[in-house]
Amino acid sequence: MTRRSDQGGGPVRRSLLWVVTLGLVAALAAGLVVATSPRQPATAQDTPAVTVQRAHAGSGTPALKGRLVLLTIGSDSGAPKFGRGGTAESGRADALQLVIIDTAKRRGSIVSFPRDSYVPIPGHGTNKINAAMAFGGPPLLVATFEQLTGLTIDYYALTSFDGLTDIVNKVGKVQVNVDMNLRDHFAGAFLDKGRRNLSGAQALAYARARKTLPGGDFDRSRHQGQLLLGGLGTYQRQVAEDPTKVLSWLGIIRDEVKTDLPFPELLRLALVATDIPVSGIINIPVPAVAGSAGGASVVRLLPGAYALFGRLRAGKLS
């Protein structure tokens, strides 16, 4: 020590060495304590944190009262991309589905009507149901359905060929359970049976294919219902992954669909739709048979159709 001290050359250098040594020891000790201690927040008072609230999770969508009946309409007009002029509202209604949702039970049904259904149209005698919209726009079509079924139609939603293809392309394809192999040159439908992700053009072709199908118009109506169910399933999957997709779909509907649904109701319905299992919705083609009237081929509703309307009026879904 003495020697070192002597060699160290004086008290100033010695005290500096002490400062460094002490500093190192203190720092190492402090570092060790920090490194080995259980993590605790640095606080002025060393009180351990308490658990104020255990973990809770919950979700809620609108509880709408009762049943909602929506008429979905596919028009043959107002589609410039397909060379179809006019407006969608003034065309013939070639795709017709009554969508009935029991919002409380989260179940529903899609009742598909062949476009050639030969029915009374208020003020226009008896004619094919698709002509009602050409005669008086969506209001007359709604009145025709109300008279035919005895149900009150709450709202309608109308789109065109352009609208359907745009919707499907904008949402990024819809997944549909294609129920038969299709090779329909007339509609441009070339699809194999099974679960398929359909583009806009494929979805439209699936909704239109009729001439080569064994059930003709009946098969087509069922396919249109399947397309709606496929859209619902696709919507639910997308929203489950990204909740902002609710707005994406609403934005697309706003741009591509004409409806008398007020926006708040549309939003609530879109939120309810996240919660309705696709398997809880039945796709029912209305019972009917091919026939003729005045030389034109038509579809005549069978007694089973009126029995179905009666059950629907009574609150049942099929």
Binding site: A27, A49, T51, V52, Q53, R54, A55, G60, P243, L267
Partner: protein, 207 residues
């Protein structure tokens, strides 16, 4: 801390020892973790000694506008203040003013769209301090942030999806603890602001 030591002339005089001590301490703090919690929190857990930070929602907004509608950036900017006010009201009712449990929940429930109010009232624990409100004397916000996507109608906001995150400290007679909220709120624009039309929410201590 190290930067301060280097720039403070008084500390510079203490020389190498202080710098080394600081460096070692810093090394101990950052490498001693391993619990996955991201290091010790600077958030106070005790106390009335720490003044409450005012609630301020940090909001990022984007807008979806219709063709021919307003400019998206301008629309987002226009929607932001109203949304921020609404989220502020929500967090104030759910946490800050809920402490003590004397005010009830009517003000919070009033922020929900009618068809979802019953569901919200049943799930207050997932949306707010809930049943714990009576044990809490004060809630001090530390972070409130939100990301919103707003859907525009012709010229006005029509709906929004908001991802909301709130962290704070709640004081109880037994001590203080953290409170957390993580929510996705689907909002409907009304004439006088917003209402929550649907929710998916979590509260409590995250794992």
């Amino acid at each position: 801390m190290i930067v301060a030591a280097r720039t403070n002339p008084k500390l510079r005089r203490a020389g190498l020892a202080g710098v080394l001590a600081g460096a070692l301490l810093a090394g101990g703090c950052t490498s001693g973790g391993g619990s996955g919690s991201g290091g010790p929190s600077s958030e106070p857990t005790t106390g009335s000694a720490v003044p409450a930070r005012p609630l301020q929602v940090q909001l990022v907004t984007v807008a979806k506008v219709p063709p021919g509608g307003p400019n998206a950036r301008r629309a987002a900017k226009q929607a932001a203040p109203g949304l921020e006010r609404f989220l502020d009201r929500y967090l104030t009712a759910a946490y800050v003013d809920a402490a003590g449990g004397e005010g009830g929940w009517d003000r919070l429930i009033g922020l929900f769209d009618r068809p979802v109010r019953v569901s919200a009232r049943k799930q207050l624990d997932a949306l707010s301090l809930g049943a714990n409100a009576t044990e809490v004397s004060a809630v001090r916000p530390s972070r409130a942030s939100a990301r919103a996507v707003v859907l525009y109608g012709e010229q006005r906001p029509a709906a929004a999806t908001v991802r909301l995150a709130f962290d704070g400290t709640a004081d109880t007679a037994k001590g203080s603890g953290r409170v957390h909220l993580r929510s996705v709120l689907q909002l409907l624009a009304t004439g006088d602001g917003w209402r929550i039309a649907a929710f998916d929410s979590r509260t409590g201590t995250p794992k």
